[in-house]
Symmetry: C2
Subunit: 263 residues, 2 copies
């Protein structure tokens, strides 16, 4: 099955210097995967207008169906996501009345007015559709360019998550219809290299499934096996592959212990 | 100050589909930053020979001084980092006797022999220098190509960390000499957009420093201000910038509370 493709871009020096672990990339990646996208790349880039806008031109040349960009929408000097996107898209930034209203309301509730720094957050590339931010100050946006859907969200996780779940996923759900099924189970009393040939055999029988062994999954003991697939037959295929795998594993390691796995 | 550049590449579908949060990227990024490198990009890519090898050709064309690649050195079918690097570098993979010995010793201690899957972990691109893995099975490697230093490490965090700290950093320390200084402090009773113009002013006086406000830093309350710089004068500059910042902040927000910050 050929899936539509996606790229995730996370903007911010803090991600590159290790001050912040990029949890946004994983959150967005999981949601896009379950929606039916193949996430091709997740890239963290610096708050640098020249480097970042050149980077986006590269992304656009690969023509992923969806691009989600997080980080760099705030009021400080290094919050340059929209300037970067405007430069890469070669469109001017214009002030959006709708965004000004949202910022006025957000700061108004805190008895603060619209300073130059706050008003900056209402400047979006021409053609943008504003997406409201119900959690924080900076509005987000949706851009369509050369067949790609580009979504611009803040880097603060609670704001990104709210906008992704309440604005972006509903828009993408209208475009993509791929049912997704996944299953995880846990095995004990073996090392990964013992079961690797069994996984290879099962993978050869189920080439459309994603099958992965995780020896150190979320710091849990044992090995977690993760199977997933897309489409109407995915659920059946996953169960068949699991059964075949358990048969092969237990021939190899008779003392194997198998458990269900919950995240 | 012009710093040598670095790119971090993390290989593994699990990073793109959100099963694993990319903590390796942050760990490696922090160590390289403190060593004196400008980390330009951190990219997560899929376990796909064609896509990943094409990606590495792009990275090589940018000629970063250092490239650290984590993930995909294990025994399973999707552990293809070395095949990807061989293809991108256009060199064959050859079996390294030193790596075979390390794998024999590692599995021997567990009363296991060298199967085909385990022996695969001794195949490295021609020209590689083997780096031993004291924590897990798969050896790592160091490659020099077209002026770039390329390090290949496992994705399991404990193994990556051990190899980075004990093999890679000592090699890079001989090449790079840039003292690094950083300082963080915390402020309360204000919103980020209130102090944004003060940060802009201070940044204009200290263009060589990295200055960043984090409104939601590691889930702590308040705003964390992070200042850092390179070179002999970095420490003095950071303290001067902090003093100027506190002066400007408290003019703007007289009720501001300032605290030291420990990670």
């Amino acid at each position: 099955m050929i899936l539509p493709t996606a790229e995730i871009v996370c903007l911010g020096n803090e991600l590159l210097i290790g001050v912040t672990i990029n949890s946004n990339g994983a959150f967005i990646g999981e949601k896009l995967t379950k929606l039916g996208y193949e996430v091709r790349r997740t890239t963290c880039i610096r708050d640098d207008l020249e480097l970042a806008s050149a980077f986006f031109k590269e992304v656009f040349s690969r023509k992923p169906d969806v691009i989600i960009v997080s980080g760099g929408l705030g009021p400080t000097y290094d919050d340059i996501q929209l300037e970067v996107l405007g430069k890469a898209l070669e469109v001017p930034l214009i002030e959006y009345e709708q965004a000004v209203r949202q910022l006025e309301a957000y700061y108004g509730r805190r008895n603060l007015g619209l300073t130059k720094e706050r008003r900056k957050m209402a400047l979006f590339p021409k053609g943008a559709i504003i997406l409201s931010n119900q959690v924080g100050g900076a509005p987000a946006c949706y851009l369509q360019y050369d067949g790609m859907d580009i979504f611009s969200v803040p880097g603060v996780p609670t704001e990104m998550e709210d906008i992704l779940l309440n604005h972006i996923i509903p828009i993408l759900k209208k475009k993509v219809e791929n049912s997704f099924f996944e299953l995880k189970f846990q095995i004990f009393n073996c090392v990964e290299s013992e079961i690797a040939p069994c996984i290879n055999d099962v993978k050869a029988h189920f080439p459309d499934l994603y099958i992965k062994s995780h020896p150190a999954y979320k710091d849990k003991k044992g090995i977690v096996i993760h199977l997933s697939g897309y489409g109407e037959t995915a659920e059946s295929s996953v169960y068949k592959a699991k059964a075949e795998m358990i048969k092969l594993f237990t021939i190899k390691v008779p003392s194997l212990i198998i458990k269900d796995f919950k995240d």
